[in-house]
Symmetry: C2
């Protein structure tokens, strides 16, 4: 039997308790032993919860109980979550988490600590909610040199963009509806500014390329600048606008990583990932392209991934999963601004702006308010900026080729 | 260091040798030790191969060499492949395979034998080529009660259907083009009759539901009955025709499994899986729906999955992966004919056939040759057949709801 403690009885934490209880038969069969929930740590009281007998308020109780082998951290953030994770590892316990902010910020350090203590630090739920992605990359694609990753990593922004595209509602209205439905928080900035997608692409890039990519080094653009005019012009080009996290590895090993809205051709499977769903594409030198699709958030999907990690940790109580990467270094990075793409441009300019390019695909010229929209040939951001110097650019998004 | 022997130097076997060599650095890092190719078994000579020093013709050499820990079976079929697999396991070696026919037919027996000998029998490459699916189901979705699986499991038939849908070419022409491009074999029956998809859904169902599903118990319909008329009527209904393998588990634990062409709404992601690609959907009670997409066949994608299993087997040289299921039993099955769906019908009949249904969606009535096409309300195959008794039915395909 393996004893588990859950830290934080919020949405994900309570989902983990629920899945452990509801699917206990299945879980016992797959773990080949019983997984028992011993503690739930939360500062709040839950007198009506069926798990109330497990509730404790002092982390030291869990830390000192040597019968607890696995700690599930679903507190979130980088405050007590960081402290408790380190203390749990130092106490010889494996830690399983859905905390993308913590993994993106301190993943290297925590994985090293786990290695020193011969325990596991697993985080399948930190990216893509319940979608299997961490384990497929680290195990199933282990024979590949991965060259690129990109994907729709944030369900909230994808829901907003889908509403704008399918129903023609404004960004503001779509955001309000997302909040009403519980898909967006009262303060939606981590989603709409791209911060959440940034953390996730950092984790995927670190895992795939073997070197920690820190969020502060990743240029991140959210969707607040996407207008209905852009959505309309994109449609005219046979494309949909999607917020992508993207990471590319050069042949020399350097890695570029960024988050930004992209135009994606409608024939691309990723363009058809709608609503709160996520889709993640991985490109490897043997596999070609594979895509993983599913609910990127939500109580039970995320709990499903956490519990899969609990089962895995319970099977590897004496061995370690090979899940490690090196720390980052400045020379291992290259500037995503140098990546060449076609660009979608909307500018307050007449045909003069179009004339700056050799082979622009014109979507609209001298429309209302003197607006002009077009798609350029392939070029870097630097070249694009130099060509458009002096013009009033309203939107400039990459086209995924 | 781990020594590997490859049985069969065909497309997949040579791909495995190539990936082991090309990506050796990556593979060594992920396996945390060197993976060394010691033997390749083949009856043929390959004097120009860079792997010619590894070639042997007698399996006993490999069988008796205790330094070989992992045997890769890429012979195919259920003849010598079956014999060599058993002998390798009995000799205490783990076996990794891409042989779907063997796993579908003898998976239970070989997994039991592997368990007795405390070695691994892994087969990630047997379904979906390089797409991670076996490991995600057995590990990442281990916390879920899986209720249903369905997918496009055969790239050849999906290529043919895509050609029919996109370019309006007949089944026969599309098949010839598939053969010309090397996607279909000279004798294409295992693909177009659905046999290949049947083997794959058997493996997925056995793994997901814990009980061996044998191919001979699975009603299997291929795509030879799909015409351009059907493709056109499907389009009129906003659908595409795709060959699906499908497995459903009832609440009482019984499993139904079948292979047949389906109409899929164009908004469904699976309808956009085109050409030789595969897409597999898994539905679990915690995760909801997830989809796995990628190249379902091909030398390097398949080799990628085989080598991932080699790495995994090398890490589990002293422990066993929990990959087992029970044998089948008649009472664990239920007849897929009882599954209720809407049905697409094309019949040589006027409006009389349509009148047999309460809420038929008419696609064409009294067309050329007195042809009538429509979609019925939800019902079982038995009810459908009773209503259409006496009518000349040309096509009857399920609609995926």
């Amino acid at each position: 039997m393996v004893n588990v403690a859950i830290l934080g009885f919020g949405v994900v934490g309570s989902g983990v308790a629920e899945v452990l209880s509801t699917n206990s038969e299945q879980i016992t069969r797959n773990a080949a032993q019983e997984i028992s929930l011993k503690y739930i740590l939360d500062v709040r009281d839950f007198p009506d919860s069926r798990f109330k007998d497990c509730l404790v308020k002092d982390f030291a109780v869990i830390e000192k109980d040597s019968s607890v082998q696995i700690v599930v951290e679903t507190i979130g953030g980088v405050g007590v979550a960081y402290d408790f994770t380190k203390r749990a590892i130092l106490a010889g316990k494996s830690v399983v988490t859905s905390n993308k902010e913590l993994v993106a910020k301190h993943g290297y350090e925590l994985l090293e600590l786990a290695r020193e203590r011969n325990v596991n630090y697993l985080f399948e739920a930190s990216v893509g909610g319940g979608i299997p992605i961490i384990r497929p990359i680290s195990q199933c694609l282990a024979a590949n040199e991965i060259s690129e990753l990109y994907g729709i990593l944030n369900g909230t922004t994808n829901y907003i963009l889908t509403q704008m595209i399918q129903n023609g509602v404004s960004f503001e209205s779509a955001l309000r509806e997302a909040q009403r439905k519980g898909y967006a928080e009262a303060n939606p900035s981590a989603d709409v500014d791209g911060t959440d997608a940034c953390r996730k692409i950092c984790i995927l890039a670190s895992l795939s390329f073997g070197r920690h990519v820190y969020p502060e080094s990743v240029p991140t653009e959210g969707i607040t600048g996407v207008t209905l005019a852009d959505v309309g012009f994109a449609e005219r080009a046979g494309c949909k606008i999607k917020l992508l996290g993207r990471a590319i590895r050069l042949d020399d090993g350097r890695v570029a990583c960024y988050v930004a809205p992209h135009l994606i051709n409608e024939a691309n499977l990723l363009a058809n990932v709608e609503g709160v769903f996520n889709g993640i594409v991985v490109r490897g030198n043997a596999i070609g392209e594979v895509m993983f699709y599913g609910a990127g958030a939500g109580k039970l999907p995320t709990a499903s991934a956490v519990v899969a990690d609990i089962i895995d940790a319970s099977k590897h109580s004496k061995t370690r999963k090979y899940l490690n990467w090196m720390d980052s270094s400045a020379e291992a990075q290259f500037d995503p601004a140098t990546i060449e793409n076609r660009w979608y441009i909307r500018a307050e300019a007449g045909s003069e702006a179009i004339k700056m390019f050799d082979a622009a695909e014109v979507l609209s010229c001298n429309g209302s308010g003197n607006e002009t929209a077009f798609i350029t040939e392939k070029m870097s951001k630097a070249v694009l900026d130099s060509k458009l110097k002096g013009f009033k650019v309203l939107s400039a998004f990459r086209v995924l080729d």
